[in-house]
Symmetry: D3
Subunit: 255 residues, 6 copies
Amino acid sequence: MLIHLSSWPEIDARLKDGGPLSRTVVVPIGSNEQHGPTGLLGTDWLCPEIIAHEAEAGEGSLIVAPTFNIGMAQHHLAFAGTISFRPSTFMAAITDWVSSLSRHGFDRIYFLNGHGGNVATIEATFAEIYAEWSFVEERSPFVLKLRNWWDLPGVNSLCNQIFPTGHGMHATPSEIAVTQAAYPDRIKTADYSPRIAPVGPIRDALDYRARFPDGRIGSDPAQASPEKGRRIIEAAVPALIRDVADFAGEVLPGV
Amino acid sequence: MLIHLSSWPEIDARLKDGGPLSRTVVVPIGSNEQHGPTGLLGTDWLCPEIIAHEAEAGEGSLIVAPTFNIGMAQHHLAFAGTISFRPSTFMAAITDWVSSLSRHGFDRIYFLNGHGGNVATIEATFAEIYAEWSFVEERSPFVLKLRNWWDLPGVNSLCNQIFPTGHGMHATPSEIAVTQAAYPDRIKTADYSPRIAPVGPIRDALDYRARFPDGRIGSDPAQASPEKGRRIIEAAVPALIRDVADFAGEVLPGV
Amino acid sequence: MLIHLSSWPEIDARLKDGGPLSRTVVVPIGSNEQHGPTGLLGTDWLCPEIIAHEAEAGEGSLIVAPTFNIGMAQHHLAFAGTISFRPSTFMAAITDWVSSLSRHGFDRIYFLNGHGGNVATIEATFAEIYAEWSFVEERSPFVLKLRNWWDLPGVNSLCNQIFPTGHGMHATPSEIAVTQAAYPDRIKTADYSPRIAPVGPIRDALDYRARFPDGRIGSDPAQASPEKGRRIIEAAVPALIRDVADFAGEVLPGV
Amino acid sequence: MLIHLSSWPEIDARLKDGGPLSRTVVVPIGSNEQHGPTGLLGTDWLCPEIIAHEAEAGEGSLIVAPTFNIGMAQHHLAFAGTISFRPSTFMAAITDWVSSLSRHGFDRIYFLNGHGGNVATIEATFAEIYAEWSFVEERSPFVLKLRNWWDLPGVNSLCNQIFPTGHGMHATPSEIAVTQAAYPDRIKTADYSPRIAPVGPIRDALDYRARFPDGRIGSDPAQASPEKGRRIIEAAVPALIRDVADFAGEVLPGV
Amino acid sequence: MLIHLSSWPEIDARLKDGGPLSRTVVVPIGSNEQHGPTGLLGTDWLCPEIIAHEAEAGEGSLIVAPTFNIGMAQHHLAFAGTISFRPSTFMAAITDWVSSLSRHGFDRIYFLNGHGGNVATIEATFAEIYAEWSFVEERSPFVLKLRNWWDLPGVNSLCNQIFPTGHGMHATPSEIAVTQAAYPDRIKTADYSPRIAPVGPIRDALDYRARFPDGRIGSDPAQASPEKGRRIIEAAVPALIRDVADFAGEVLPGV
Amino acid sequence: MLIHLSSWPEIDARLKDGGPLSRTVVVPIGSNEQHGPTGLLGTDWLCPEIIAHEAEAGEGSLIVAPTFNIGMAQHHLAFAGTISFRPSTFMAAITDWVSSLSRHGFDRIYFLNGHGGNVATIEATFAEIYAEWSFVEERSPFVLKLRNWWDLPGVNSLCNQIFPTGHGMHATPSEIAVTQAAYPDRIKTADYSPRIAPVGPIRDALDYRARFPDGRIGSDPAQASPEKGRRIIEAAVPALIRDVADFAGEVLPGV
């Protein structure tokens, strides 16, 4: 079920149906940020949305929340179109999502993430949320999980097999390909120079732009194609379904 | 242009092209909250997205940001599927959007809002943002505008003409109809009892549920149809285009 | 009773007397901000104080808190003497007032407001406060109400009748007149130019000053007189008493 | 000048007149909290207001802000009528007052305090405000001063002379007497038992109430009289005028 | 016991042993800030650490937490090596220490402080912490105490006897001597000019540096010696042991 | 130089001496948290302190700040003696350290970390700090680096060679051994059961205690010895010196 295209009685009934996945919700989460000369600004939230929606459509038993489309992208702010939360804002926002979803009875909340730059802040947020319970010596009534879509079992190895060189870390051919498969009329081209972008540390936005003039890090997105994107999606979708099922079925000690 | 389906060089070029709308951005903003027995949980963010995307597609000169899909819906939290920010979180999130967009050179930021419950907090946020400049005796380098889609010139009167009774304040036939026009395969039905929902004050979530057991306030959404939704959209789209153009063209005193 | 001129045993006894208004408290709330060439900087907190104190004196059954004399006036900061809270500060302050008063057993808290610019932030604060309860699925043990003094039944229509033109939105002859009635030795005069001030949007402080050079918006305060102020007060006082009684007597559903 | 009974052009002119006190503002600050069986809940904000207003009236050269009437009184919350800010809220509120007043050109801000429980938080706030400048290696453009009214030169010794025993620390005969002088129709009486209240540490509200059942600490307020209050006021007023003049005239090193 | 050199089962056993001091913990707290031409930057956290560790070693029954080594030192920031928290950060940090320690069952938390500039913020923090309980009408399950090491019974008088002139307020010969006794290989010398430093108010960092060019306030640290430091330590250690025992044994009213 | 055992003129002189490391500071950072039945509660802050102080002593050119001894350890709060910051508090505290150190002219700040649970929050903090600059389109005047001591070149491989099995993730024999080398009189023993602790996800404190009853994760600390700790320290110290030198010498693009 896509929450945003459902009515509240539909969600309510599903929460109460007792099925294995009925109290587990998947939140596609990403970022709206530059992805090099050709990548869509929405790449990082579109990818998890594409995979989660396809998983929901095919099988029907996943409950998928609206897409959390802004993340921690301060280092990309020197490129037009990037929208970023400060980590502290991001933490507050995730916390309120969790408070809302858990209040309805979702006790397993699975964030399918599309942006590496989100990971530290999401993990810090989980700790902030859990700390509320830890300080008062109570057990959290819900469990949180973060999974990057490329870390779904089998996906990373497939991406590396399709793109043995020039995969890189930002504006990768994998993510570009996934969006090409889903938005074929939005494919853009450019002469990349150099073909494979440089690598280096990530700091503030102007430092980033000085190091990575066109926005890419270590990648050669020219290798992307809709067909390759389709292959990645088709690997990711069943992997997501299994991963969520495992999470939903995980037995908690002492509960 | 839809920012999320554009590349950064495309947005960058547009920002610099000198056109009348080139430094104005439209942000569809809403809420993910219950909309009665049949309304989609995403209604309040889908409506401004539908209108803004159609305005962008038809004319092409609007720059439209990703949809800000969570708002202030604490009073709806007793109905499954609602996701709400606390006002303070909502304020921080809007502030970071504005900081991001204005940093790129957007100096007119237009929020097309789909949720009445957002209005107070958005206005408070505008004041919080402006206050930063007011305290240091500088002029804000950008101008913010909030417009509810139903307050676009001509829209409210059309809605009242189509639905002379039972329009109400929440889960209105207008907004339901707009989503029906855009998502005809997601139309849901129910036996509404009473046909027109009660009215009353809005306080906390349990008080809300006690007053408005199925979630509606004052409305009879059974009157909605995709055709009526299409009429509303067709009135709203040109009104939005004109309203944004007026905003973009507004001369600021003393600048 | 005026809380600040009472002892704690007096308030304690009153809270426990079981009378219809015994657990309802009126908080005059306003702002300290410029009111044009002649208006008192305290106008917006003096007006609700004047009305609430007169209501308390005449009838004796109202419990009136000290006046909350600073509000959200960032847009007036380019005029000397204005003191403003940021919205976030204002929210924290109101929240602590509510926490304090409700802790004593006041379960109906009525804010009599004197500043239009406060409305959005006060409403956002109410939502912030209620959200604490909504997220944990409990009912708020108190009810909050915001009433602008000019929206007390009958007051606005009287003001419009007395001042059919040039009432405006800021430094209105109504509010000036109310303070003239209460502080006749503080009446000031000026040559207003233009007689009726311009209107326009409200943004940051320097934009405000550029649009509204002497501080007024749409008003002609030269029409004010102590006598007119007295008429307004005499309409507002009984309207306040009735409005508070209605609020105190309101039956909550499901409680 | 009382800011709240002045117009903005009057304050503006005064700020620019170049007089020795023209850029110095006095802020009466206190608390609304229980003051034993007979003390007014407003005692702590009324006392500095009474003294500051009398100083302003007599001499005319002081600029006096509205009274900051809520402070840090968490320990008094078990007594009805007390309204308290959390220290963090109090800090934010004071900060915004300072930001507002300094923005207009007041570069010496003098807080005349009426509540011992405010002292730590006000001093912490001063440090918080100064820290903004200290971290960026700039000099603060304003100077802040805290003065308890009883610490005005000569006042404490007078109070001790008038009340050689049973002065105590809370609900002191001095402060009660000052309010009796100003509000003779609000004098209340009680049988104090014991005559002189106990002393002890101050912690949370219930601990406070267990230690100090009627709210007093170490005091015998039965000794208060309007005449004694008048003597105290008459000592405090000229001391305040001199103290403010000294502050206004203080030469800052290296400026 | 030094917590940081113990294992958790050791602390756990001690907490449960029922001894008079078993649920009381001593937290040495100070600041890392300039101490004049010769004082160690760590002076203010080293002094309470030295005294607390010696008390722990000699008697063994004290439970001593790690040293809280950064405090409120914004006014010293114009001198290299100073590290300061803003008061708001300091408050959050202390709060989390208290939440952590009290969660384990420590119900008496004793802060042995080495920096006068910390006092206001620590007291404000105690009020912030207690306020959480006061607002909800519950009794705090722990008691907090602040003691400056020089205010331990007998210490101040000893310091004044050893240093009848030039003791001053910052970079005092007492505190320098204590660190000399503990770190004799880190003794530094300088030609102090003037011998006794000036005094004055404390504001922002640049104002501080303008008033107190070498960092000292009112002191002549040339008088310090390791032997004098040893005498002070030997007075402070038993005084601390007694003071903590008194605190641990204090009977709370109504509990 | 150890900052806390230096005077401000010493640090000042060093900052200005122009040497390659003169504007680089090393901050040992860790956590005070349970480390299984035998590990010291201070392990995670003692390890980086031991290594950094030994590096400073041997070579003399490192500038080492006081140890930041509390980190993000919410998951360990069910074990006595653990002290944890919430992530948000930790972020504020690190930010103030950076603001203080950078203000003095340290433009390279190197955090030598001893706690894996700190990593996400420290990285989120770096992003929060950089974001301040990124939003205003300025370059951060300092560079931040996080290095876990076990990730110093060569250290991890040495640890794995010494402890080919039972190294685990928490209360590892490596960290226990390092503290044993430095505090041989504080070595504790226990019968570990099982010998190698279980592994699993980290969530709230009670979940943690249910999964990891004695606190260890995946480790067999019985293998630790002071000699092995010495070997690790002797590998880490030169690796730290080189790593800091590389960081100090790193050329920034476009500066």
